[in-house]
Amino acid sequence: MFLRFAVAAIAALAMPALTLPAFAADQVEKAPPSGAYKKVSTLVKLPDFLPGLGQLYVDPNTLPAGPFLAYDHNGKLVSTVYMLPIEDLSNKDKSFDNLAAPGGKVDHVDVYYNAGHPGVEKPHAHVVLWHVSKADEARVAK
């Protein structure tokens, strides 16, 4: 019930984005990214800057998987994040195919469980493509 409402609310917010050229050459290196991306904290009630992730942008039409683009305090892209519901991952009839990866070079990848948060309520896995070194992850630690 609630989830359906949340999805509807997000869909409504996404409407204006549909009028934008969906495949314009997106600029993603600096926040805010161009194209259909919206700041996650304007779509659902989440802190503007998430410790460990950074400031997130997502095209609402791609929820829940994303990509979510994550920026540091200086607005520099640090990672591309996918949020994959556990129940979808364990469903043999579901897959995540051809997900966009606009951020370019990947330094390393983290995969970990998340219990859920507004926007992606169900327990899910975060798949994080870091565009910076392990040491530079500290830029979004807090």
Binding site: M1, P47, A115, G116, P118, E121
Partner: protein
């Protein structure tokens, strides 16, 4: 910073003197408002209420405050008015729903009807983020004990949540049950 939000919701009902009161010397019992914090670990793999179980007097207030810097949480009573969830608060008590609380935001209710109140966090019910409050006596005026996993109608409570509730007996015995 976002100013701390504080809602006070007075939940109607008759205030009864609890016979247990004399036997209880718990800290929570003596305070005007008891505080329950909402927490999570750094990567969001675990989220919880602390304490998870608490015994209070009728008329005492409970305040939830979000101390999880990377997430938002709710305190939402199990009640058909909240997303068609089963009734797991006393029959005569008013349900509450804090809506999403951002870090450092808080929400309060005053509970006057005796009985056992179960509540959950909307995005984290499936992660077992639930809590239980006993007001006075667990099966008091409201007539609903909700102490077992039994639930009447509505969207069923997920197993993860049912497993997480502390036992009413333990809450009565210890006064406060911390998250472990």
């Amino acid at each position: 910073m976002t100013p701390t939000r504080r809602h006070i919701l007075r939940v109607g009902g008759v205030l009864l003197a609890a016979p247990l009161a004399a036997r209880l010397a718990g800290r929570a019992w003596a305070e005007d408002t008891v505080e329950i914090v909402m927490r999570g670990n750094a990567d969001g793999s675990q989220v919880w209420f602390d304490p998870i179980g608490i015994l209070i007097r009728p008329g005492q207030s409970v305040r939830w405050i979000n101390r999880d810097p990377g997430n938002s949480h709710t305190s939402t009573a199990y009640h058909p008015q909240n997303s068609d969830r089963p009734l797991r608060i006393p029959a005569g008590a008013t349900p509450w729903n804090s809506d999403y609380l951002l870090p450092d935001e808080s929400f309060s209710v005053t509970l006057t009807v005796e009985g056992t109140y179960d509540y959950f966090c909307i995005p984290h019910e499936h992660a077992g983020m639930v809590g239980r409050i006993v007001v006075g006596r667990p099966g008091g005026l409201g007539g609903s004990t909700v102490s077992s996993s039994a639930s009447q109608g509505g969207e069923p409570v997920p197993d993860e949540a049912l497993r997480a509730f502390p036992a009413v007996d333990e809450i009565l015995r210890r006064g406060i049950v911390r998250h472990t």
